[in-house]
């Protein structure tokens, strides 16, 4: 019962984070702030959902596989954000600064 | 119930993605959307209890082919940058619209006769599928029926598929393998590939 509640909290929080990230991508003015919105929420969103699913699955091979996916995402997701930002900066995309964005 | 909701959601996403692909002009974004399309299809296959197909779709469609298409884009140029303007259509859009509508109506009419998903009396299920389901574990001892059918019952078929994959690789090598022949050394390399 408690596990059910915990897992539902995790799943709902994860889903909410995903939606927040999507809203952030849609609302934010430039590439870097969008990446900021997506990159941060995305990682935690996936992890919370995996945690919720793991709590539902209980101890076993399924939970172990979910843990492996967890580890994989833990490393790849921030790295992907970093690589994306790095590549954008390299190719000369300037972050939009505060003064400019006010005019939109 | 929950399957229906997931199906409808995934299909809606698929439709949205395909509309976005049609309307987009940036080729890089289109390649990314193709990857998303494949991933959504993979999710749909999982809902339909076909994890093997979903696996292949996710690995090939969303993974490798995206990389290959990006590589192709890097070779060619992003067409939105070229000074190419699309010619205005030569005729009114009514004729294509009517053709598409009629074809779509015929297809929808055709779906009424298609047996429902998982119907045991469907023509596809009555021929050899029953035999595979009943005998594959006894005859091959392999729990994954897909592997048993793929590798054992239809071994010829899979041999042909592998030959197709190999032929594709050889064809790519013959067409664009070997570096740009700036030096004659590279040409020799290409000759070796021909023998292989």
């Amino acid at each position: 019962m408690i596990i059910d509640i915990l897992s539902w909290i995790c799943l709902l929080a994860g889903g909410a984070l995903g939606i927040i990230g999507g809203v952030g991508i849609y609302r934010f003015p430039d590439f870097y702030s969008r990446l900021h919105a997506a990159g941060i929420t995305d990682t935690l969103c996936a992890m919370l959902i995996l945690l919720g699913l793991g709590l539902q699955a209980g101890w076993g091979i399924a939970a172990f596989k979910l843990a492996l996916i967890f580890v994989f995402l833990f490393f790849t997701s921030p790295t992907a954000s970093h690589a994306l930002a790095n590549a954008a900066l390299h190719s000369g995309l300037k972050p939009k600064l505060d003064m400019e964005s006010r005019h939109d | 119930m929950i399957d229906t909701i997931i199906n409808i959601t995934l299909l809606a996403f698929l439709a949205t993605t395909s509309v976005a692909i049609v309307r987009m002009t940036n080729l890089f974004a289109i390649v990314m959307l193709f990857g998303i399309f494949s991933l959504l299809s993979a999710g749909l296959f999982v809902v339909m209890d076909a994890p093997d197909v979903a696996f292949t779709e996710a690995a090939v469609g969303a993974g490798i082919s995206t990389v290959l298409m990006l590589a192709t884009l890097a070779l060619t140029r992003n067409s939105s940058k070229t000074p190419y303007t699309e010619a205005s259509p030569a005729h009114r859009p009514w004729l294509p619209l009517i053709v598409v509508a009629v074809t779509g109506a015929a297809l929808v009419y055709g779906t009424w006769d298609i047996p429902s998903f998982g119907d045991p009396n469907a023509p596809a299920q009555t021929h050899v599928a029953r035999y595979y389901i009943e005998n594959s574990i006894v005859e091959t001892g392999v729990p994954n029926m897909v592997t048993a059918v793929l590798a054992s019952y239809r071994g010829f078929d899979t041999l042909g598929e592998v030959a197709v994959v190999y032929t594709a690789g050889v064809a790519v090598l013959l067409l664009i393998g070997g570096r740009r022949p700036k030096t004659a050394v590279k040409l020799k390399d290409k000759g070796e590939q021909d023998e292989a």
Binding site: F75 | D52, T56, T147, A151, T158, Y166, V172
Partner: protein, 139 residues
């Protein structure tokens, strides 16, 4: 700090995992979803990741093109060779039953070898195509 330090470290951490996963998919295909096609693609994805992060030349140093050409053919030959062996042992072409003492053992061995052939060919061909496309760009 080098600009790609994070990518290098994470890629070095991930590539062995991807290869292990592809081997799992390859040899666990009898029991769960997976098989030669998927495993070959995942295996090639590991090397493609290496090529993307460390550069094409480094990747070609690890797995030279000549090897790939031979591996692509080797997989197909392995597959067809299993069929020839079953012929020689008195069965039909690709009838794995004659490979083992019992029918189950024979089928198991045959499926394993055939899937291995599929995996080798698919992985090698994917890498060949990738190297051909990516290598074309440089002059």
């Amino acid at each position: 700090m080098k600009p790609n330090l994070i990518l290098h470290v994470v890629a070095k951490f991930l590539i062995p995992l991807i290869i292990v996963f592809s081997l799992y998919v390859q040899f666990h295909g009898d029991f769960g979803p997976g098989g030669g096609f998927q495993a070959g693609v995942i295996f090639s994805a590991a090397f493609i990741l290496y090529a993307l992060v460390f550069g094409l030349d480094a990747a070609e140093k690890i797995i030279p093109s000549q090897w790939l050409h031979m591996l692509a053919a080797l997989g197909l030959v392995l597959y067809a060779g299993v069929g020839v062996v079953t012929l020689l042992l008195g069965g039909n072409y690709l009838d794995y039953t004659v490979l083992g003492a019992t029918q189950i053992a024979g089928q198991h061995l045959g499926i394993l070898l055939v899937e291995l052939g599929v995996g080798i060919t698919v992985g090698a061909v994917m890498l060949i195509i990738f190297f051909a496309f990516a290598g074309r760009g440089r002059t």
